[in-house]
Symmetry: C2
């Protein structure tokens, strides 16, 4: 956007950085998603499986927080994973407001099969940068994305 905008140097710099950041994220996302396509999983679904695999069962509120998504969104993504029997929901008895989501046997197996390829795709994407550059990029991104919850 706004490649031709003439403003102050500060504005031009901020705009340029913003555009480059968005394009990089879009490009990488598109390519990673294409690697994933044959599995029939979306990136959102993989995100949920990943969280459950590495962190154990979680309630939907926690999933929403981890993935920076709204509650309504998580409801739908879990719905779709549940249709494929990759995760299951369990209403908690202690506090019936909570729903605990966990991987099924099939979910575990599928994720274990897919994850190494997913990591390989990410390593390949990042291969454009040296180790030092990757670390610098990670640091700058962390500084930019500083928490500030999505729904706050």
């Amino acid at each position: 956007m706004g490649t031709r905008y003439q403003g102050t140097a500060e504005e031009a710099r901020a705009l340029n950085t913003y555009i480059k950041l968005m394009r990089a994220a879009d490009s990488v996302t598109a390519r990673i998603h294409r690697h994933l396509a044959p599995t029939g999983l979306t990136l959102s679904q993989l995100g949920v499986l990943d969280a459950l695999f590495h962190l154990g069962p979680l309630c939907q509120r926690d999933l929403a927080q981890k993935l920076l998504k709204t509650g309504g969104n998580i409801t739908l993504v879990i719905d779709n994973l549940e249709k494929r029997a990759l995760v299951k929901r369990e209403r908690q008895t202690a506090d019936r407001r909570f729903v605990l989501v966990s991987l099924t046997e099939q979910g575990q197996q599928l994720f274990s099969a897919i994850f190494p390829r997913h990591v390989a795709a990410i390593v390949q994407e990042m291969g454009q940068l040296t180790a030092a550059e990757q670390e610098a990029l990670a640091r700058l991104c962390r500084q930019l994305g500083r928490a500030e919850c999505l729904e706050g």
Copy 2:
């Protein structure tokens, strides 16, 4: 994702950078979009208006390329902008396959009114980083997103 994944150092580094990049892009996008909400425009719609404003009338294929989106997506976004009379379509007579999209008077006015605030929001977001850091981030992102068309 995969904060707890134990792989090689190369894998851990690539994963970490990937996560940080995605979270930064998501956070910034969410905050920028919130600034935009009162106008009723989505970020995609603003992207189209911006391209038309700064580059002049374009056909949908060119818009898709500029914005890294699919043709089907552009069709819909233009539909929605057309409903609000912010852009207009004109079938080209020279080659009837092309549709030239341009801003209406209203579109120009709305964009002119909104753009400065949008730039201000981006400058504020990027204010987390020094000028040198912004330039470093832009360079690293450019390196990562190197062209490779979306639909190719």
